[in-house]
Symmetry: C3
Subunit: 276 residues, 3 copies
């Protein structure tokens, strides 16, 4: 009883002229109006430019379809999202690097102030940008025995303030400080203890079920009151990013292209190769 | 061994020309200098304009009497305070609506920066404005098996920033975000777990006893040091409200009189009627 | 296998012309590059001007020696640090009082933004300024059965914002508010529960061992990423102090020399004398 919207790869975007691709994200809207947005880009749902544009397209489609709420999840077996695609940052072409980061800012702004409830059904590992995606939602349900955290420092990079502040908002300043400094990845169980996720479940099916129940709980609240309350809570971070997009972009580009960071990324990529 | 001050209805206030009333709040000052301010306006101690002016009068009297501290409680059986009087907001007369909200701002400013310790002895349900009253105090003792929370969104309205920020200060950002978005009412037990109240007790007598002990604990601290520390902690919220009283008032009036909110309030009032 | 640096009393500082002294702080750097900075000024490691200058010297030496990290601890049996030396504040000479507070600001700025990890091995009581020292570090390990807290109000004084905000950052707003208002000293066990310390250990040897392990954990993180992440987290407090040093100094001097505070300090000093 569900209509499936498979959003095709887009044709006219300037960004996509650089690197066209088949869509790796699909949206299923069930009969109650819950949109399940599933990322499916093996091996780890890494967030490159196309993936970010695709995610934005799916999120906006959920709004246009007047969905009750969105469930963000993964079609992969053991990974929610591995975070930003390192290949976007390693030896980058500046134009594309800027477009990549700007699209990430778009996703952050769109999701953190999303007008309908978004629930993360975290059905696999969720480091760095994967953790960030979940931090922008209204509620996090995570399957047991995976890991989650903002582990950027371990790769020699630094999470921007709009990753950091939702992390502080979610687990408190002290836990965030320590976790960000050490690049900690938490098990689902530890994430639950410190409030990084709201629920721990045994499997993906339960995660999706509970996420749908949560959306129904949210949908009882008059829309305007929900939206204003959510926006008022999140306005400081949203406004700070809106007012500093350009500076944040330049800072990222300059930091990312520094020899020290490029060396860290090279080292990390070589480690990944050896693992294969 | 206690002098009873029954504050009579006031005679000269412009506000009261609109709607004179007998006082529903009484103050008892015991031999140790603890003032017990009791709300007694059946059925639910709803906070209308007169109630707010009366509360202000009683609070100022406690200061003038050089009391050691104040205990804020209810004379009703199962309700601390049901919060703002919906009738002040439903089909309002603009002048009175403004006076009502302005008086609520007065109470917020007075209580959040109160120069002597205030303890809430929450001996019954405490939704919305009732919860807010308790959030402005220095310590919350709640009788078991009641409910408390800022459930404004459930009525289609939005708690102002000076309700929201003390809530964030008390239970942390994440718990506050979720509770405000969903309009959650917590049981005493859950409120204790998330830190919304500081103590859970079996009955009102114990609440009052423990509140008196707490006031004695506070009164050991040199006054100036207590006042400066409290003020420094709470200055951001107090200054923000002082600097934005007019804007906050206009925003409330415009929001409250919008068709969408009036419809929500009408729906809520009809639900209440059906319950009777 | 450790080189011992005993920093001698300094000779040229203007401050020290006022009150020259042998150094009460020593630094041991072990073969792994961990610097153990030990305070040893009986009876309570009280922080007077010379002690603060000495601490600054030892901290900077650790940086110059390119240490991996610093462990801050005490050579006394049951006291980490008793905090600020009351004698600096009681019937003070204004010039020295200013130099004293300014040196404390220096230590605060240096430690809160320290470029290498600092671990507090809190091997004894740690009230007021002693607690503050530990709050500026990256990780707190405390030996059981001692006490810690910002108990300034009990002495009639008020912790400045740059003591207060790290306290809020560490244990959250509500716990900080209550603890600061009441001047609460927590047992090690309670401090662990509210997050004021990160670990509880049975003795100093274990504290030092665990601190060294923690430094190794930190040292895996690429330096630039660690430093930027730490600085970004702590920037608001650091910048606020940098931008308000003069005002903060003047406020302290005026507050400290007020009759009410002098009377509180006199009362406190007499209590101490009677205890002997």
């Amino acid at each position: 009883m569900s209509r499936k919207i498979l959003l095709n790869s887009y044709k006219s975007s300037a960004a996509l002229r650089l690197c066209s691709t088949l869509s790796h994200i699909s949206t299923n809207i069930d009969s109650t109006g819950c949109a399940v947005i599933s990322m499916n880009k093996a091996p780890v749902n890494s967030l490159n430019l196309e993936m970010l544009l695709d995610l934005k397209k799916n999120l906006n489609a959920a709004l246009e379809n007047k969905c009750k709420g969105v469930i963000l999840t993964s079609d992969l077996k053991s990974v929610f999202s591995g975070g930003l695609d390192i290949l976007e940052m390693y030896k980058p072409q500046e134009e594309r690097l800027k477009e990549f980061w700007s699209s990430l800012q778009d996703i952050g702004l769109l999701l953190y102030g999303f007008k309908i409830p978004v629930i993360a059904a975290i059905n696999g590992h969720s480091p760095a940008g994967g953790c960030y995606l979940s931090l922008t939602t209204d509620y996090r349900i995570m399957v047991q025995k995976y890991s989650i955290g903002l582990n950027e420092t371990k790769l020699g990079i630094v999470a921007p303030f709009w990753f950091r502040e939702p992390m502080i908002n979610t687990i408190g300043y002290r836990q965030a400080e320590l976790a960000l400094e050490l690049g900690t990845l938490f098990t689902t169980e530890d994430a639950l203890k410190i409030g990084l996720v709201d629920e721990m479940v045994p499997d993906k099916a339960t995660a999706i079920d509970n996420a749908k129940k949560k959306i129904l709980e949210f949908s009882v609240i008059p829309k305007q009151a929900f939206q204003m309350t959510k926006l008022e809570m999140r306005r400081p971070v949203i406004e700070k990013l809106l007012n500093n997009r350009e500076a944040d972009l330049n800072q990222f580009v300059s930091f990312c292209t520094s020899p020290e960071v490029q060396k860290s990324l090279e080292f990390y990529l070589e480690t990944l190769k050896k693992k294969k």
